[in-house]
């Protein structure tokens, strides 16, 4: 896409640009721009993209919360609070009329049934209070899969359901955190596969040329002009239902990557063809460098920034692929927790009408995709620091 705006000269990043407060940078910093490496220039330019700068830390927080999901969440994803089925989100309170300001606590909730509609709802019982505290002992788990422990970041007695519970009484907050393990990692694994396929086929296409090039290019044409969702659905439907989770997970990743490598392969081929003709490649060849050496030392570094951008933007695509397939029931199946599987509970109007908080996993999906898009946009602007 050609949506990069031209940037006025004074906006080129780096210390040479005037600081926002209007102070002129010192002499040495102006000089620094002439000696800065390409990566430094990219970083200076990237730094100016405010949204991208915000996106990085938020993504790190999301991934850390996936890594330490068992520590952060107050319970386990499969634990059922049978007294609190379909309970709404419970706010943690710091104030009550009787006791005034005090430590964090939650009220007991009681299920009641509407005599007319038979609809169940919960009311807070203000006479019973459960304190919430940090680093409490709860259900045992293995931190990072290695260290057995039972300490959770926060917890307490009673219905500690930060984001409510599902119809079986499982804590939604816990399930979202555990779900992020699958949903967030799908993006990274998928990107590794897209990267391998795109580099390999794009590289072969650009390097060999001729018939192979034509064939690969036509294949990409074919993949680009097909609507992806129906194809994803058809491929996912071909995966046997009874496959173990890990194999299913890999299957889904392969499906989303097999269709997504075309874009990267095109970029790689295009860059390869244009860079190959540049003077420095000719110089290297004249100096007696081998093809492999030229590819590894000159061609790849010259397009690394483009590759990074393209890959960053393909991560959210893979995440959405897994989410929508699982949501449709064609991807990962119920005992496994992923954001798509969680959203499956919120599929029809009857479900969301009664339990609107079941839509909350969508918030995590949107934030993740949005942050990756910000990051990708910032990287795209920064990818060509000389512009």
């Amino acid at each position: 896409m050609v949506n990069r705006e031209p940037i006025p000269d004074q906006e080129i990043g780096g210390p040479a640009a005037p600081a926002p407060n209007g102070a002129t940078p010192p002499e040495e910093e102006v000089k620094a721009i002439y000696f800065a490496s390409q990566w430094k220039l990219i970083w200076w330019k990237f730094r100016k993209h405010r949204l991208a700068i915000i996106a990085g830390p938020i993504l790190i927080v999301l991934y850390l919360s996936a890594l330490f999901a068992d520590f952060i969440s107050p319970t386990l994803p499969a634990t059922r609070f049978t007294d609190y089925k379909g309970a709404p989100p419970q706010p943690i309170r710091f104030y009550s009329a009787e006791t005034g300001l005090r430590g964090p606590f939650i009220y007991e909730i009681k299920r009641e049934t509407d005599p007319k509609t038979f609809r169940r709802y919960y009311v807070a019982d203000q006479s019973v209070r459960y304190p919430v505290s940090l680093f409490v002992r709860g259900e045992p788990y293995k931190l990072l899969g290695l260290f057995p422990t039972d300490i959770h970041l926060f917890g307490g007695e009673g219905p500690l359901l930060l984001l409510g519970s599902d119809v079986l009484g499982r804590d939604l907050f816990t399930r979202i955190l555990y779900g992020s393990r699958i949903s967030l990692s799908v993006g990274l694994v998928g990107v590794a596969l897209t990267f391998a396929l795109g580099m390999l086929l794009g590289g072969i296409s650009g390097y060999l040329g001729g018939l192979v090039d034509t064939l690969i290019q036509r294949l990409i044409d074919l993949l680009v002009c097909m609507p992806t969702a129906p194809l994803w659905m058809a491929l996912a439907a071909a995966l046997p239902r009874n496959w173990p989770t890990l194999r299913m997970y890999i299957g889904i990743v392969i499906i989303t990557s097999v269709i997504g490598w075309g874009g990267l392969a095109r970029v790689v081929r295009g860059k390869l063809l244009s860079v190959r003709e540049l003077d420095f490649c000719m110089a290297a060849r004249l100096a007696g460098a081998s093809d492999l050496h030229i590819i590894a030392r000159h061609l790849l570094p010259s397009m690394s920034s483009y590759i990074i951008v393209s890959l960053t933007l393909s991560i959210p695509r893979t995440i959405l692929g897994e989410t929508s397939l699982s949501f449709l029931g064609l991807g990962l199946q119920a005992p496994v927790v992923s954001w798509g599987v969680l959203l499956r509970d919120a599929q029809d109007l009857a479900a969301i009408g009664l339990h609107p908080w079941l839509l909350l996993p969508a918030l995590w999906i949107v934030v993740t995709v949005l942050m990756y898009n910000f990051l990708g946009d910032g990287l795209r602007d920064a990818a060509d620091p000389y512009k």
């Binding site: 036509r218 609507p227 969702a229 129906p230």
Partner: protein, 333 residues
């Protein structure tokens, strides 16, 4: 112009062959075939099938032949007789089942396309002429949200919000009394009243990214020397804007149809499932879950073929608008 059209049409024929081959392979992927499914159904209903009958059925459906022959029979029947095979689940010819749904999918997709272009060109012009103003930032922010929120999630959220505030369930494409009614003028009007939601939901992400594209293209164009010259000569701003820069910026926008159309059709199938619309999406999902492979194959083949044809039409449109392309003067940009 004619020779250009001829060249492009000749180019898509191998594309369509490749497409049908891939789809045929995909629908053959699940373990078992049409007859094993059929037998399973009969046995589930308490029937008994002898070996002899199985062999007969296999011969009837040409399943005893090698893969490439099956493909040729499948594609020959489609091309020559319009026969897509029979749906196992519905026990009706596939062509009967997909006809109306395909038409509705096309209507929704084309409306979405028109919506996408109209809105994104208008907002793109506004954003480019008001660069770095509050309005521009607002639309940029909106565009990022639009790109990041997948249509099916948006459909869920809007469905919920409308339901909570008005008590109306905005699913389907027609009011209850029209769902099974034959086509009539009131039914069309009723459909038009419902169609806005899927159009906005499906069109949002495409509109968002096209707005960014239009903004970038117009900004590039507005910096050209001829614009400065015209302004220096005292041409009125509105005339200056619409006479050349906007027209030049719109041309590359049309070439985005190549990826926009598949995106819309793809988004449509997901949104249609959530909103339970009488289009191809929900039935495709059903047929995939039931491994009703001829039906699934028919849907996949027709939606992809129509998308390819749509892309071809956009190329022809572009060539008609921009003579540089039909004479091969510039490469596609």
């Amino acid at each position: 112009m004619l020779s250009y059209i001829g060249r492009r049409v000749a180019q898509i024929i191998p594309l369509l062959v490749g497409l049908s081959l891939i789809i045929f392979i995909v629908i053959q992927l699940p373990p078992g075939d049409y007859v094993t499914m059929y037998i399973q159904r009969l046995e589930a209903a308490g029937g008994k099938v002898s070996e002899y009958e199985i062999a007969n059925l296999r011969r009837l459906y040409n399943l005893d032949r090698p893969f490439y022959q099956q493909y040729f029979i499948w594609i020959r029947n489609i091309v020559l007789k319009g026969d897509f095979g029979r749906s196992l689940q519905w026990e009706r010819p596939v062509s009967e089942l997909i006809g109306e749904r395909l038409l509705l999918t096309m209507v929704v997709s084309i409306c979405t396309l028109i919506f996408t272009y109209t809105v994104s060109i208008i907002i793109g012009i506004y954003s480019a002429t008001h660069q770095y103003t509050a309005g521009d930032y607002f639309f940029s922010f909106l565009a990022f949200i639009g790109i990041s929120v997948p249509g099916f999630l948006l459909a869920l959220v809007i469905m919920y919000l409308v339901f909570v505030n008005t008590g109306v369930a905005v699913t389907g494409l027609f009011s209850e009394q029209f769902v099974r009614a034959p086509w009539s003028w009131p039914k069309v009007v009723d459909g038009l009243k419902h169609i806005w939601l899927p159009i906005v939901v499906i069109g949002l992400s495409g509109t968002a990214s096209l707005t960014r594209t239009m903004r970038g293209l117009l900004l590039d164009e507005l910096q050209q020397a001829y614009v400065i010259t015209a302004r220096a000569k005292g041409v009125a701003e509105t005339k200056l804007l619409f006479k050349y820069p906007v027209r030049l910026a719109i041309n590359p926008m049309i070439s985005t149809l190549g990826w926009l159309l598949p995106t819309i059709v793809s988004g449509e199938s997901l949104v249609a499932i959530v909103l339970n619309m009488p289009t191809t999406g929900p039935l495709l999902l059903q047929s995939l879950l039931a491994q009703d492979m001829f039906l699934a194959g028919g849907f996949l083949l027709m939606t992809s073929t129509l998308t390819v044809i749509g892309t071809l039409l956009s190329d022809i449109l572009l060539a008609w608008l921009d003579p540089r392309i039909r004479f091969g003067g510039v490469s596609e940009h």
